[in-house]
């Protein structure tokens, strides 16, 4: 390339000995300014493939076999497990519960998180303490918070005692024992634990909004509601995307809290795909059937988060 473009006036080298340009600089010129060796990704990729990619692929394959978890060999059964899933009313209920939990956690957790973020992103004196405080539940082991709430929700537990003390004895409930209520009691625990997580992400978004924009809107006489809707909300679009994705995926995968508080009860009222997968695999040894259920869960996570991501991406570009 360089030889061809060299000015003719230069004392031309004999045509026969026109050496090709030295390869090293040419290659560097064509690619990146700094050549970082590609093999730097290999160690990370090796751990990731061993712990996630390979076993996930094997799980997907097992879902088409009659593997029992112990035998070295297994035979292909096609879509049999998927067909039995369709007629398994317990699995269908679990799917409905999983979607209900994921959607309601996504909506309520982010609504609470956003309100908290707007509240601490002001001039109140306790703002720094409150920030640290509201995030703290997200740090605590889910097993611990689940046991704590199991006690709070007990018939003679702290919530009913508090309602009695406030003269609201009529509102006392069997929070985890009532099959109409148990699912929402579980949702409340997740919202309590992770609203602070949403708050921190919204807060990061709020703090990236330049102060001049607020001042300009003050001078235009915009009230707090209009200012939020027309100025703050569009600028929070990236924070909304991250928050909604994290809470949707987390809600769909939820296991620890449900397992500790209800084990899916009463009467399957809080069974989710995760608890059914666990029970089928480790209590009934139906390994292949449980991996078919895990494949269904995976498809729901990928499709729903893909749809949500596409929608939020459009919103971000429009704002």
């Amino acid at each position: 390339m360089e030889t061809a473009m060299a000015p003719k006036a230069q004392p031309a080298a004999p045509a026969g000995s026109a050496s090709p340009p030295p390869p090293a600089p040419a290659r560097r010129f064509r690619t990146d300014r700094i050549a970082v060796p590609w093999w730097f990704v290999l160690p990370a990729l090796a751990f990731f493939a061993f712990a996630v990619l390979v076993p996930s692929a094997r799980g997907a394959v097992y879902s088409f076999t009659d593997w029992d978890g112990l035998a070295r060999s297994s035979s292909f059964v096609g879509l049999e497990h998927y067909r039995s899933l369709l007629s398994d009313s317990g699995a269908r209920d679990a799917l409905v519960h999983t979607l209900l939990i994921a959607f309601s956690v996504t909506v309520v957790q982010n609504a609470v998180g956003l309100l908290l973020a707007l509240g601490v992103n002001t001039r109140i004196r306790s703002r720094n303490v409150l920030r640290v405080f509201f995030f703290a539940p997200a740090v605590i082991t889910p097993v611990v918070t689940a046991y704590l709430w199991k006690y709070l929700y007990a018939p003679e537990g702290a919530i009913n005692a508090a309602l009695d003390a406030l003269g609201l004895g009529l509102l006392t409930q069997s929070w985890l024992g009532d099959s109409d209520l148990a699912l929402w009691s579980v949702v409340a625990v997740i919202v309590w634990q992770f609203s602070g997580y949403s708050m921190v992400i919204f807060l990061a978004g709020l703090q990236s909004i330049p102060r001049e924009i607020y001042e300009a809107s003050d001078m235009d006489g915009a009230g707090p509601v209009r200012r939020f809707w027309h100025i703050v909300r569009p600028m929070l679009a990236p924070a909304f995307t991250i928050n909604l994705m994290l809470s949707l995926i987390g809600g769909l995968k939820l296991f620890d809290q449900v397992w500790v508080m209800t084990q899916g009860g009463p009467g399957g009222a809080t069974d989710t795909l995760s608890t059914v997968i666990y029970r089928e695999a480790f209590q009934f040894n139906a390994f292949a059937y449980s991996t078919a259920m895990a494949v269904v869960l995976t498809l729901f996570v990928i499709v729903l988060s893909g749809v949500q991501y596409g929608y939020l991406g459009r919103q971000e570009r429009n704002s």
Binding site: T31, I34, A35, V36, F40, V41, P43, A44, L45, F47, F48, A49, A51, V52, P55, R58, Y62, T122, R123, S126, L130, R131, F135, A136, P137, A138, V139, I140, T141, P142, V143, V144, L148, W149, Y151, L152, A161, A165, W192, V200, A204, G205, S208, R211, A239, K253, W259, L273, S274, I277, A281, F287, T291, M293, A294, V295, L297, T298, V301, S305
Partner: protein, 274 residues
């Protein structure tokens, strides 16, 4: 901006009430943990007349929390060190190269954010069993390093894309090898986001429950969540004892959080720009 007005005061009051509602479960936790075991029948809301710390000592011994704390600390420290070094090393070429392979590798890691652990759970359990690693903390370290790699690579890649290349280029001009440039120039520049990667991974690894329950059951190498799970199963009606155990089990991770809380918010802010 505006000064502290009566409206600000009203907002402050409302936020503090919200904080008290959030704190209610924690208040009950301490009231119960400080209650003497024989002080039954009292309302769960009233602090005990003669608070005691006996429950903490008993829970520490009977749940064998000492060994569990050590085990959790070992697994968490090893996994987080591996995660920080290896994910930063991987994010470096991914962020610096614009070629097809780097986008493909990044997409592969992002797929890992979506795959639910339930899908890999059973096949990986079988592999660990075949390798004779069940009951061995090494199995957990390998698992956490792999499973948290996508999120860590995601955070580092976003940060690296916004990082000036001048220092690296200068180091390479001076003849430093790429590996040496990475360890002595790039890794130190990543410190702000490393704080976030550390704290989020510490929280995840320390708190994870199902995998250690499956991999370590009956081995005596339990981690804190599994030790607490077994302990509660044994002493289910003795809430004061149970709650003392729950508090002890939460102290280490809360300490790390309070020590590093500034980094959490800053790190998220950096992640949003990436």
């Amino acid at each position: 901006m505006k000064r502290y007005t009566w409206r600000t005061g009203l907002l402050e009051a409302a936020m503090i009430v919200a904080a008290l509602v959030f704190a209610f479960p924690v208040y009950v936790l301490f009231v119960q943990a400080l209650r003497p075991v024989d002080d039954t029948g009292a309302s769960p809301l009233v602090p005990p007349a003669s608070p005691t710390l006996d429950n903490f000592a008993q829970a520490w011994q009977q749940a064998s929390l000492g060994p569990a704390v050590l085990n959790s600390a070992l697994v968490t420290a090893a996994s987080v060190v591996l995660l920080v070094v290896l994910s930063a090393l991987a994010a470096y070429p991914i962020a610096r190269s614009t070629r097809g392979w780097s986008r493909a590798v990044f997409a592969l890691f992002m797929l890992g954010l979506l795959l639910p652990f339930q899908l890999a759970l059973i096949p990986l359990y079988q592999t660990m069993r075949d390798l004779g690693l069940l009951g061995n903390p090494i199995a957990l370290i390998i698992y956490y390093t792999g499973v948290q790699m996508p999120f860590s690579v995601f955070l580092y890649t976003g940060f690296l894309r916004g990082l000036d290349r001048g220092y690296e280029e200068a180091a390479m001009m001076d003849g430093a090898s790429p590996l040496r440039t990475f360890f002595s120039v790039v890794l130190p520049l990543l410190r702000p986001i490393t704080g976030t990667v550390v704290i989020l991974n510490v929280i995840f690894v320390w708190n994870d429950f199902l995998t250690p329950l499956l991999y370590l059951s009956g081995s005596g190498n339990q981690t804190i969540p599994v030790a607490l799970f077994g302990f509660v199963g044994q002493y289910v009606s003795q809430w004061p004892l149970v709650f003392a155990g729950l508090i002890i089990g939460s102290i280490p991770v809360l300490t790390v959080y309070f020590a590093m809380q500034k980094r959490v918010i800053q790190g998220f802010a950096g992640g949003l720009k990436g």
